[in-house]
């Protein structure tokens, strides 16, 4: 049995998506910039994808730019906007719980003379709006806040944040990293004063290496990838047509029946959190039940190292992650969990379970049953 509960790291692609990607690679393989028919046919996939995605977000087609994924979208939004607006100011704001694609870029910007404020979060991992209100200044050029935290599933108050930023400094740009939220929680940038929004394809059953950045028409931004002038010169490089087609189809499939899927996921999450909380010395982190994102559950297992528990579950065919797998392979303590004030000794005992629309109650029951067997065994053997 294989039970994949690491959908915040990546997801299995929809079968329909792999069929389409394969068809575009093998049949409609033209370069969208070519003048001949083969190019025109390929270009149609890109146009259609823009139309689809623009509709889902209720924005204009020309505001969608395809990238290589969430990391590039995040990098571009920050670097491109910081450069283009440096005369208006050199101050940026983000939170302490962002993905490394944001935090590392901010660190780089600091090294070249920008100033960055990192907002604190509450015990559930939700950004403190009073801190945001205090932080926005006249020379603040950009605020970047994630929609859903990847480690504990905390849902950020994007709409309220948008209002605060608008009120304090209407010229400040607002970027949202929606990599974990897109396809699960609807967000309409124009209604929330969001100027830029990052999305990744492989978190929504699309292909890896795909994504896009929504950029509001009025935003001043510079490109960070130069070359043949594709996508209006804003993001050069031959468009990843099969990837773009796959991304767009995956997004459409996520939005079809989304309300029903989300209801079901919340029911699973509530069940799973309640069952975990009943277990001996298990602490559920982050927002509970109907709060937060519907697909992420974080829990700390006192006295058991997360890496060992992860491999013990792996032996049972259950795949989960310790901390954030996207920030993989590093023995670093989770910034999110620390920022939430989780006790030091629990940081190294924390697992993340992340669901997809394919996750079933039976899979969760099996996982709970395995945890029930494994935990007492592992607790017998600890470093003394």
């Amino acid at each position: 049995m294989e039970i994949y509960l690491d959908n915040s790291a990546t997801t299995m692609a929809f079968k329909e998506v792999t069929d389409l990607v394969s068809k575009v690679m093998y049949v409609d393989y033209g370069n969208p910039s070519s003048m001949h028919l083969k190019g025109v046919q390929a270009e149609k996939y890109v146009r259609d994808a823009k139309e689809t995605l623009a509709k889902l977000l209720k924005v204009q087609e020309k505001e969608i730019f395809f990238t290589s994924g969430g990391t590039e979208s995040d990098n571009w939004a920050l670097m491109g906007a910081a450069q283009a607006n440096s005369r208006a100011g050199r101050h940026l704001i983000t939170t302490k719980i962002e993905h490394p694609a944001i935090l590392q870029t901010m660190e780089y910007l600091e090294s070249i003379g920008y100033e960055v404020t990192y907002l604190p979060v509450d015990e559930n991992g939700v950004v403190r709006l009073d801190a945001l209100e205090d932080a926005v200044r006249k020379d603040t050029i950009l605020v970047s806040i994630m929609q859903v935290n990847n480690e504990v599933g905390a849902l950020q108050p994007i709409e309220e944040a948008g209002k605060i930023i608008e009120k304090k400094n209407p010229r400040t740009l607002f970027h949202v990293d929606a990599v974990q939220g897109f396809g699960k929680i609807k967000l309409y940038p124009k209604r929330c004063n969001v100027d830029m929004l990052s999305v990744s394809g492989h978190k929504i059953h699309g292909p890896k290496g795909t994504g896009f950045l929504y950029i509001d028409d009025k935003v001043k931004i510079k490109p960070i990838v130069f070359g043949g002038g594709q996508q209006k010169g804003m993001r050069s490089g031959t468009e990843n047509v099969p990837g773009i087609a796959g991304l767009s189809l995956a997004a459409k499939m996520m939005y079809d029946g989304m309300d029903e899927d989300v209801r079901r996921l919340f029911a699973l999450k509530t069940y799973f959190q309640k069952e975990l909380a009943k277990m001996d010395r298990v602490i559920v982190n982050g927002p509970l039940y109907g709060e937060g994102a519907p697909h992420i559950v974080s829990a700390s297992f006192t006295g058991v190292r997360s890496e060992v528990l992860l491999h013990a579950l792996e032996e049972k065919g259950i795949y989960v992650s310790a901390g954030s797998a996207c920030a993989s392979n590093k023995h670093t303590v989770s910034a999110t969990l620390s920022a939430m004030g989780i006790a030091q000794e629990l940081l190294d005992c924390t697992l993340r379970f992340s669901f997809s629309i394919f996750t079933t109650r039976e899979e969760l029951d099996y996982t709970l049953q395995c945890l029930g067997e494994i935990l007492p065994m592992l607790r017998r053997f600890v470093r003394r």
């Binding site: 890496e307 060992v308 528990l309 992860l310 491999h311 013990a312 792996e314 032996e315 392979n329 590093k330 023995h331 017998r380 053997f381 470093r383 003394r384």
Partner: protein
């Protein structure tokens, strides 16, 4: 220009009537090393020399890199073959050769001509003198020094004429396979791959054993050891890696023995298991990466305690090396970056805060008695369920 390599070997030249065995082993190892490349080569042994002839298009640098990993080679001389088309043509070729290899530099040289074909119209002395003159006249920057030249230009008159002057240092050592076989205890660390490399440099073929402790160690930790074994096998030739599931043995020790002796007792069982496989597979000794005093389990007393369980000799090539010296070798053989990947290995998972540094063998033996009921079965199972991975 170059189409062949003359292989120089040092130590095996002096092995008396066993010499041909060593040479044959060296030829085999050269063939094995070159088989991984795309080009085709002929390796031949004639008149006490080994030549590698490229018989297809080949990449010079790639070939030299491959040869530099064959133990037993002390030097690699790139050779130019030319047809004998008379002295005038030879003189012209020599001048071209020197200008091409040393052009624009200030160098001292001497010519060493040899005639394997005695019917050549000039003798060696005449050739040395005449060709020396040709170089002085046609190659700017070159001056003669017969006592301590920067390069010796070798001209050998055979069925063809061989010209060479460069000697690229080889790795030295002895051809793998001439020194028997040993069992390497391979962990994911820096030391054990270096120990394997050093022992195989003395002509010893290797097998390796790795102790895996799932779920405490991960698939990636195992992959890391497989990768390290591959780097070692680039020098040591193909080897078998035996992967032992050590978890149950480790947990039994944990439950039944004093905690500060856990590492020592664990290592004693590792040695026992390694020795059992070694004997099964015809190995004549064990190899470890231990170095005196590096950690608690590598004090003289601890080494004595782990050594005590073995009948076979235990070779510890790094025993007197400082860590930095070991790191330097691991960088040279490309294992360092892999070794420092941060995956937990089975030696560190349950390690005590204050392990014994001066264990007493009798005390340890007494505590091992606590394991009597279970340990033979566990060791047996571990041996039977081992996974064998072919490397190289």
């Amino acid at each position: 220009m170059f189409t062949a390599f003359l292989i120089k070997y040092a130590e095996i030249g002096v092995k008396g009537r066993n010499r041909y065995l060593f040479e044959d082993a060296l030829v085999e190892q050269i063939k094995f090393a070159l088989a991984k490349l795309d080009a085709k080569y002929a390796v031949r042994k004639t008149q006490g020399r080994i030549y590698v002839d490229a018989v297809s298009e080949f990449d010079f640098d790639e070939t030299v890199e491959a040869l530099k990993k064959v133990f037993g080679i002390s030097g690699i001389c790139p050779v130019v073959y030319v047809e004998d088309e008379g002295y005038e043509k030879l003189a012209q070729t020599i001048a071209e050769y020197v200008n091409r290899v040393y052009g624009g530099q200030q160098k001292t040289f001497k010519v060493c001509a040899r005639r394997a074909r005695k019917n050549y119209p000039m003798n060696s002395m005449e050739l040395n003198r005449e060709l020396g003159g040709v170089i002085l006249d046609n190659c700017p920057g070159m001056t003669v020094d017969v006592h301590d030249p920067d390069f010796e230009l070798n001209v050998e008159i055979r069925e063809k004429i061989y010209i060479y002057s460069e000697i690229i240092p080889g790795p030295g050592g002895m051809p793998v396979g001439t020194g028997g076989k040993a069992m390497l205890l391979l962990s994911g660390g820096i030391d054990s791959p270096v120990a394997g490399y050093m022992i195989s440099k003395r002509g010893v073929k290797l097998e390796a054993v790795y102790f895996h402790a799932p779920p405490y160690t991960s698939e990636r930790a195992k992959q890391k050891v497989v990768d390290l074994a591959k780097y070692v096998s680039a020098y040591a030739g193909p080897m078998k890696l035996h992967v032992i599931n050590f978890t149950d043995i480790q947990l039994a020790i944990y439950e039944k023995c004093p905690h500060d002796e856990l590492t020592i007792i664990m290592r004693r069982y590792m040695m026992r298991i390694a020795e059992t496989i070694a004997k099964e597979t015809g190995c004549l000794g064990l190899v470890t990466g231990e170095s005196i005093g590096q950690v608690a389990s590598q004090t003289m007393q601890s080494l004595a305690a782990t050594n005590e369980v073995c009948e076979l000799p235990v070779y510890r090539p790094l025993i007197a090396f400082d860590k930095q010296d070991i790191v330097d070798i691991s960088e040279k053989i490309n294992t360092y970056e892999t070794s420092i990947l941060p995956f937990e290995d089975c030696c560190t998972i349950f390690v005590a805060k204050h392990p014994v540094t001066k264990p007493n063998v009798n005390v340890i033996k007494g505590h091992e008695k606590n394991l009597e009921d279970v340990i033979d079965g566990l060791v047996q199972t571990a041996l039977e369920t081992r996974e064998i991975i072919e490397i190289g």
